[in-house]
Symmetry: C2
Subunit: 366 residues, 2 copies
């Protein structure tokens, strides 16, 4: 998920209203084809018996949960299907705050802004830990920030907005810190399919009862509007999360679950490999243009965002608008993602015109 609204909407609206031709790199909406089997699954569902149109099990379709459980090598009881990773993350945060001592949420800075907004909605305090130059959390800094008051540690890897992939060591350490402080480590792994380094590790590996993993098919299957995600929960959170999910949403859309299950079963690994190759090409072209523009940036190890800083051109909303009007490229202001990268701009490489956008930026800053 990637909805930095209302700032997001504001930038989108400005880009749409601009006079010239604007390449939209604001939002994290994939622009490539979803799996063929996913479309086929929706087509199948259109002709399904009436019974299939009624409430699916609140915790998710059984076959879908079994497939997810098998892919993650966890017992099916731990899987709850949700309305996208967004709901899974909300449920894990809400129930984690209820079940664990303390009221503080440790987040990286820069950060995907919904985590902070959710913490605020849930009456929790946010404690930001600045990411290092590579866009990763340093567990030493997290340990310094953690205390008996820490209820949650929330990370996203591969990361939005930095593109960093947290390796095994970082996640092991974050898990250990959660265990030591009786906190819940919520690991958002929604970009797991977009790892260009081979270093991605799931936080499930450590078999800790202080870890919840949230994910979805929105990015991997290029269908952010389908709204099918899931949480994998430690034992003590299964019942609270199921109850809260039931009272919030009753169940998750049946045609979407049907389509995702079919796509999970029938989509060849090539589909994901081709998407990665496509994105790697865009990253190469974009980073080459950033080099030409003498911008500061970190080459993404995963996901599909690039944070960049142009000399004398801080990433304010005003400059974002200038870039739309004068260069024909729309990005997001860095301060949408906290204070640590407020001088930067984020570009989402989810347009077939990413290379063209890169050339425009190189020309503009030449």
């Amino acid at each position: 998920m990637d909805d930095d609204r209302p700032l997001f909407f504001h930038v989108m609206a400005y880009a749409d209203a601009a006079d010239g031709d604007v390449i939209n790199m604001v939002s994290g909406d994939p622009d490539w084809e979803p799996p063929t089997a996913l479309r086929e699954g929706l087509r199948e569902f259109a002709d399904a018996p009436v019974d299939d149109y009624q409430y699916p099990p609140s915790e998710g379709d059984t076959a879908l949960r079994e497939t997810i459980a098998a892919r993650h090598d966890v017992p099916v009881e731990r899987v709850v299907v949700t309305n996208g990773a967004g709901e899974a993350n909300h449920l894990a945060m809400a129930c984690g705050l209820d079940a664990h001592a303390g009221s503080e949420v440790i987040l990286a800075d820069p950060v995907y802004p919904y985590y902070a907004n959710r913490a605020e909605m849930l009456d929790a305090e946010v404690r930001y830990v600045p990411a290092d130059d590579d866009g990763r959390l340093d567990p030493v800094a997290v340990r310094d920030a953690a205390s008996a008051d820490t209820a949650l540690i929330v990370t996203c890897s591969p990361n939005n907005p930095t593109g960093a992939v947290y390796g095994e060591e970082i996640k092991r350490e974050l898990t250990a810190i959660a265990e030591e402080t009786d906190a819940l480590y919520v690991s958002d792994e929604v970009y797991a399919a977009f790892d260009y380094t081979g270093r991605f590790h799931t936080a499930l590996d450590f078999e800790s009862s202080n870890v919840a993993v949230t994910s979805s098919f929105s990015k991997a299957m290029a269908t952010t509007g389908l709204r099918v995600g899931y949480g994998i929960l430690p034992k003590h959170l299964i019942d609270p999360v199921r109850t809260r999910h039931m009272l919030t949403n009753v169940a998750v859309t049946a045609p979407g679950q049907h389509a995702v299950l079919k796509a999970l079963r029938e989509t060849p690994e090539d589909y994901y490999a081709e998407t990665r190759a496509l994105l790697r090409d865009r990253i190469d072209a974009f980073c080459a243009a950033l080099d030409a523009a003498e911008a500061e940036y970190t080459r993404p190890e995963g996901a599909f965002y690039v944070l960049a800083r142009f000399d004398g051109f801080p990433g304010t909303l005003e400059n974002v608008k200038r870039l739309i009007d004068e260069a024909g490229v729309a990005g997001m202001p860095g301060d949408a993602f906290g204070s640590a990268r407020e001088d930067w701009l984020r570009f989402a490489l989810v347009t077939p015109r990413a290379t063209e956008a890169a050339d425009r930026l190189a020309d503009y800053f030449a």
Copy 2:
């Protein structure tokens, strides 16, 4: 929505495991065909461009919101599309509790149990007001129960489980009470399409800023698993509800919204009239059998549930199981809906075998 889980699940599982042939009248899942245009909408979506597969606006597809607004004659700003009426009800209750003084929720007894469970989840107190013999709230009794501590009044009309339709006068009075006590009146109108009396009135009629209406297409279009509903909110709750919706769910499933919009535009009134005729026939047959069994019951004025009491056969879980084993009919124990009808049984007339079930009950209690 109609998920009285886990009791609901327990009864369903028992009915499924029973040796003999059992007619399932446990759950409120429609058994008739959804509109043709709804299936066609899903089929269309299967071939939609990639862009249509991405995040729809968080507050709902614009054309869908405009269509809903026009049907209810309200400004489009007041409409938020939700993951079924369940989410709409949750959002209205949560934001209503935040915005209005007090922490008490007035509910009818018997009641659709999710309202009470949501109140509990939101740390509110429930104050039950017993329904009258016709299954309706008496505004005089509600006025006696209401106080400065009342934050919400929540009703469902046409009613699950009593089948009562609250007329204009009751809703006008409940609205006035909400205004007098600075409370929010949340009117769940999800069964509005199933009114056999012509007495149904929407609480929107009174143009009060103390009224929120929640509904969905789940029952009217026989698609409880699609998860497309909506809330119509008073001005002061629009922003809080949109924010909470965004942070909980991000957005509602795009194929479902597309299918519902097409169905709203293209489904003839006949579709709804035929469904009502079908249900009226079932109600006639079922009530005739209840007469033959000398049961106490109230003929439903709306929705598709019948509450009945059989002499010497209280509606306990034990007796529900006996009825499954000995009569081959599965209903719900009355105490799932509060204490006022705990001696009763609820039967959902959502099976083509409703008449056969009625005969079985008449034989069993003969």
